[in-house]
Amino acid sequence: MKPEDNKVMQLKDAVSKYIKHGCHLSIGGFTLNRNPMAAVYEIIRQKTRDLHVYAHSNGQGVDELIGAGCVSHLEIAYGGTGKFMPTCIRFKKAVQEQTIIVEDYSNFQMTLRFLAGAMGIAFLPTRSSLGTDIINKWGFPKEFRKQHDLIPNQKLVVMDNPFDGWCDTKKVVLVPAITPDVTIIHVQMADFRGNCRIEGLTFADVEQAKAAKRLIITCEELLDDDYLKNDPDRNQIPFIHADAVVKVPFGAYPTACYRYYDYDAAYMNAYARAAKNDDAYQQYLAAYVFDCPTHTHLLDKVGRGRVESILADRNRGYAKNLDRK
C-alpha cells in the first residue's frame, strides 16, 4: 500500500530503504538518455550487491552498475550507448569473464514484459524472434528457474494461434511479465505525491514504473501538486504508483535529459577509455563515485563550465552547438 502523504525523500534514504542486496531492479532511460544516474551512483556508493537487473537498452546506468560489481544477473536486450560504447565495455567484460549471468531478449520483448507487469497479466504475445536463438538459448536454466520464485519457469513459450490463422498468424511467442521489486526512473518534473511528467520520448519508463512493486522517482524539478494537475494531458504516471520522490537536478548526468541538458560527450568518452582497463576503471570509480558523497559533488568535480556547456536549448531540447567528437 503506497502512502498518500508527502513522498519526498533524500536520495540516500530512498536507495537504502528500497534497494537491498539481491533486489530485482529495473532502471529507466535508454542508452545515453534519461538514465537515473544519480541513483545509480548512490547504489554503487552503498555497495549494494547481487542485484538482478532488468533492462531493454539502458546503456550507461547498467554498465556502471556492472562495473562496480553490484550486479549478478541481467535480463537485457542491448548493452551499449551508441557511438560512445557500441557495446557496453564493463558489461562485455563481465559476460566474457562470467562474473554475471545474462539472458537475452529483444527490445520489444523487454517492453512487452514490463507492460505485462504493469497491466497485471502473466504474459503477452508477439511474433518477434520466432526461429531465432533468443527462443532457443536461455541464460537461466530450468533448475535455476525452479529455485527462484521471482523468475518464471520458462524463458519464452512458442504457441500456435488458437484463433486459427486469424491475422495471418500461425504462431506466436509468449513473453512472461516482469514485476521488479523496485524501478527507478528519472523524469523532468514530479510533484510531492509522485505524479510525473516526462518530456520527449518516454522509452519504456511508464511501463517499468507501473510494473514495479516500489517506484523511486528522481526529478529535475519538484513541483507543488497543482502545477502538474493543471495540464494533465502531459503527465504519464499518476501518483498512486509512486513510493519515493527525490529532487536531483542533473540527475541523469552524464546521460541526457530532453529540454534540460544534453549528454556529456567528454565524460562518456573518458568513461569508455577508463572502462577498457581495470586499474583505470577503479580510479574512475574512486574519483567520480566514491569520492563524491552526492551528485552535486560529482557535478562540482566535473566543473560547472562543462555542465553549462551541455545545457539544452529549451525549444530544440538539446545543446545545439555541443562538441560531440
Partner: protein, 253 residues
C-alpha cells in the same frame, strides 16, 4: 571523383530508400544513410526510431537512437511500445525498411549481434539484439551493413539474433514469422541481394576496382556471382549533400 569507402556505402544504402518508405534507423552509418536518402533521393521518406520518434527533423545528426536530437520536431513522441507496434502492424510494418548491422551474417541473411563462442561462456560478447531482432522479424525488407571478412560471412552463425530467411524459401513461414526478410547487404567491397526463389545471397555488384573473387575470398560460404555488375560511384551531388547536409562535423563519416 574523390570519396571514401564509408561514403560510398552510405550512398549505396540511401539509394535503396524510396519516397513513402518508413526507415527504421539504428546508430551510426545506418542513421546517416537514412538522412542521406531524405536529403538526396527520397525527400518524402520518413525517419523512424525504435525509441518512439517518427518523422524526426534531424537538424543535427544523432549519435544514438535515444539521442535528444531525434525528439525534436517529430510527428509524435511516444515510447518503445508505440514504435514496435508500428513495426508489427501489418499496414505500417509493410512500409518500413530496416537498416541493420551485425557481427555475423549467413547465406540466408540471418544475423548475429549477440556472441562469438558458446552463449553461456562466450569468447566475445556484443551488444545484443536491441530492436534488431524485432525489425528483422516484422518489416517487409531490410538493408544490412557488413564488413567483408571471413569471420563475419559465416557458414553457421554462433548465435542467430535476427531472422533473415532462416533455412530457406519457406523458413520464415514455417517459423511463424510474417513475410519480409533481408533485401540488400552493403559491404566495403560490394553489394549482395537474395535470390527470390532460393532466398540465398548472391552478388549484385562490386565496388570499382574490386573483383567477385576478392569478395568470395572474404567469405566462409559460396555465393553466385554471375549476375554481378559494377556499382555506380557516388555523384558529386550525392557527396556534397551527404557531407554538407548530413554530417558536416564528420561525426559518423
Amino acid at each position: 571523383m574523390d570519396y571514401t569507402l564509408r561514403e560510398l556505402m552510405t550512398i549505396c544504402a540511401a539509394r535503396e530508400i524510396k519516397n513513402g518508405d518508413i526507415v527504421f534507423c539504428g546508430t551510426g552509418i545506418s542513421m546517416l544513410a537514412a538522412m542521406a536518402a531524405k536529403n538526396i533521393n527520397a525527400p518524402d521518406s520518413v525517419i523512424f526510431f525504435e525509441t518512439g520518434a517518427i518523422d524526426s527533423k534531424l537538424e543535427d545528426i544523432p549519435l544514438a537512437v535515444a539521442d535528444p536530437r531525434i525528439m525534436y520536431h517529430t510527428s509524435a513522441n511516444g515510447g518503445l511500445m508505440e514504435a514496435f507496434c508500428t513495426m508489427q502492424n501489418p499496414m505500417s510494418g509493410a512500409r518500413i525498411v530496416g537498416i541493420l548491422g551485425a557481427a555475423q551474417i549467413d547465406l540466408y541473411g540471418n544475423l548475429n549481434s549477440t556472441v562469438i563462442g558458446e552463449y553461456d561462456a562466450p569468447d566475445v560478447r556484443f551488444s545484443g539484439s536491441g530492436g534488431a531482432c524485432d525489425v528483422a522479424s516484422f518489416v517487409s525488407r531490410s538493408i544490412i551493413f557488413m564488413k567483408m571478412e571471413k569471420r563475419k560471412f559465416k557458414k553457421k552463425l554462433d548465435y542467430l539474433t535476427s531472422p533473415g530467411f532462416l533455412d530457406g524459401p519457406d523458413g520464415r513461414e514455417k517459423a511463424g514469422l510474417p513475410p519480409g526478410g533481408p533485401d540488400k547487404v552493403i559491404t566495403d567491397m560490394g553489394v549482395m541481394g537474395f535470390d527470390e526463389h532460393t532466398r540465398q545471397m548472391f552478388l549484385i555488384g562490386c565496388f570499382p576496382g574490386i573483383t567477385p573473387d576478392q569478395i568470395l575470398d572474404n567469405m566462409e560460404f559460396e555465393i553466385r556471382t554471375d549476375r554481378a555488375v559494377e556499382i555506380a560511384v557516388p555523384t558529386q551531388t550525392e557527396l556534397t549533400l551527404l557531407r554538407e547536409k548530413c554530417d558536416p562535423h564528420g561525426l559518423i563519416l
